[in-house]
Point group: C2
Chain length 314, copies 2
């Protein structure tokens, strides 16, 4: 079977394809391995006459024109499982970094950043104070597997967990979570905004949740609250967020994704009360290899017509 890649990936996760597939030009390829950051447009799909499968590297697949795939009967798969723990881990990392000011301190100690006194950082028991996660309330918007894996970490850190989701979790799933030590309370969206000390976005992007966090929603949050986004940049009205951060509507934000990626608002770069990472929620070596293995699984199952073993999106 002939295969094309949109992006160079680590070879380590593709060893099982050796001897079974052959790398080819796009106009010959039956399988396209795409990555979540690469737009697979209608035009591109139309230029691939033999295409039968798009095996996307990533859980989100809003990079792919699904209508164009549907019309041609092209299958689309994703890699939902291996992204769960790395992304929940980065959500937690960003939350604890903004709360405990770790990135800011590290910058200032090295002499970078925004020295107020011109003296650099000074040690002292009443200096460099931050905020504990312990005892605080985490609100999770989007309580899928990533949100739940974040809840597990937050609970062990002494946090109270609220969540909002299209559907409340089933009793069965709630019992499974309780067996992992996690208690999470379902609340409506407004309550989530009003009661959270930390608000983490962990929902997939679809056009109906575009700018789900905009000026009105930021205005409902606590002035002491922090926003965490490792989902998709377009969930947040970035200009409204910048205004909220500058005027003290909320206390801070920690972002892995941006509305106009890879562009980041210049104003964000200058703010001390934000932590910024370069869309690397799933970006660990361990995670990358596991995602490649998952792409391999999907391609092998497709070749064997074993649809039960595939992560089918379409």
């Amino acid at each position: 079977m002939k295969i094309a890649f949109t992006t160079a990936l680590t070879q380590e996760g593709f060893r099982r394809l050796k001897g079974k597939v052959e790398e080819a030009n796009r106009n010959e390829a039956e399988v396209l391995v795409s990555t979540f950051d690469y737009r697979v447009t209608r035009q591109m799909i139309e230029s691939m006459p033999r295409l039968r499968l798009i095996a996307n590297f990533g859980a989100g697949y809003n990079n792919i024109d699904l209508d164009a795939c549907r019309e041609r009967g092209i299958r689309v798969t994703n890699t939902p499982q291996p992204v769960i723990e790395p992304t929940a881990e980065l959500s937690f990392a960003l939350m604890i970094t903004i709360a405990r000011r770790v990135a800011e301190f590290d910058r200032n100690i090295r002499g970078y950043g925004l020295p107020v006194t011109g003296e650099g950082i000074q040690f002292g028991v009443m200096r460099n104070l931050s905020h504990s996660l312990y005892g605080k309330t985490l609100g999770i918007l989007g309580m899928g597997r990533i949100g739940q894996a974040l809840a597990r970490r937050a609970k062990a850190s002494g946090m109270t967990i609220l969540y909002h989701n299209r559907h409340e979790l089933t009793n069965e799933r709630m019992n499974e979570l309780r067996s992992e030590g996690v208690n999470a309370q379902y609340v409506d969206f407004q309550t989530l905004l009003q009661d959270s000390d930390f608000l983490s976005l962990n929902l997939p992007y679809t056009p109906d949740v575009h700018h789900i966090i905009g000026k009105p929603e930021l205005g409902m949050m606590k002035r002491s609250a922090y926003l965490i986004n490792t989902a998709r940049g377009a969930h947040v009205d970035e200009q409204a967020l910048v205004e909220a951060l500058k005027s003290g509507i909320i206390a801070g934000a920690a972002l892995d994704v941006y509305e106009h990626e890879p562009q980041i608002s210049q104003e964000l770069l200058a703010l001390p009360n934000v932590v910024l990472s370069p869309h690397t929620g799933t970006g660990t070596w361990e995670g990358r290899i596991a995602m490649c293995e998952n792409v391999t699984d999907n391609i092998l199952a497709f070749m064997e017509n074993d649809y039960n073993k595939m992560n089918i999106v379409l």
Copy 2:
């Protein structure tokens, strides 16, 4: 009762002392509130003829000349409980920040740091890769209450926990930990060094553990391992650590404390594979207030001769 402070602290935790104590000069004070970063020397103690209690703000009390106190029958108290969660939280924050490169990314996105290409940070699925905590082994040196609170967080993050301690934990305490979801295995010191992907120091400082991590110990660690220190700087031979970081003997370090605090080795400030914070393990607003309340408890109990309610060190 007359009281003196070595350091200006938040007033919020001292309200219950109002009307009961009176701030005074050192030569009149019966109670001295000292902070963990302030050396209470023999000379200072000898200059306070009426001194009966040193109520230290902090769990560690290696800042106080205990021999001089003992000779005079001066009581010393500390604040062991409120430091547990904030310090375990910072240990975890430093570990996840070095693993997921959060501080480094934040610096580089802002244009600070050590650009290799001169182009600043670039987005991309095979760029900016880091390491997961999930599936890794955390070794905890010093399995007191802080180490145990760190273990709880690490377990929920999918880590395996090893520990070394003067004494193995009792079966009773191990059962309590298991009820919180924590499994931790006791190993000897050498095994801890050899088997840990992350090694966290959470032991108190005493002269017999001076430089417990030096060149030979660093040499026994994995080349892929990270060292985390939120305990005391003198646990680590800082020059040996710098050499190990520069020559790839270990992969990185995240430090809240330094051997010659507040001086930090200039070489550390230039290394990309370290995260540095300014001795702020207990330094949250919530933690500071709780520590002041604990100092207040100790002073009130001392005034009532209720030694059972005091955190007595001496």
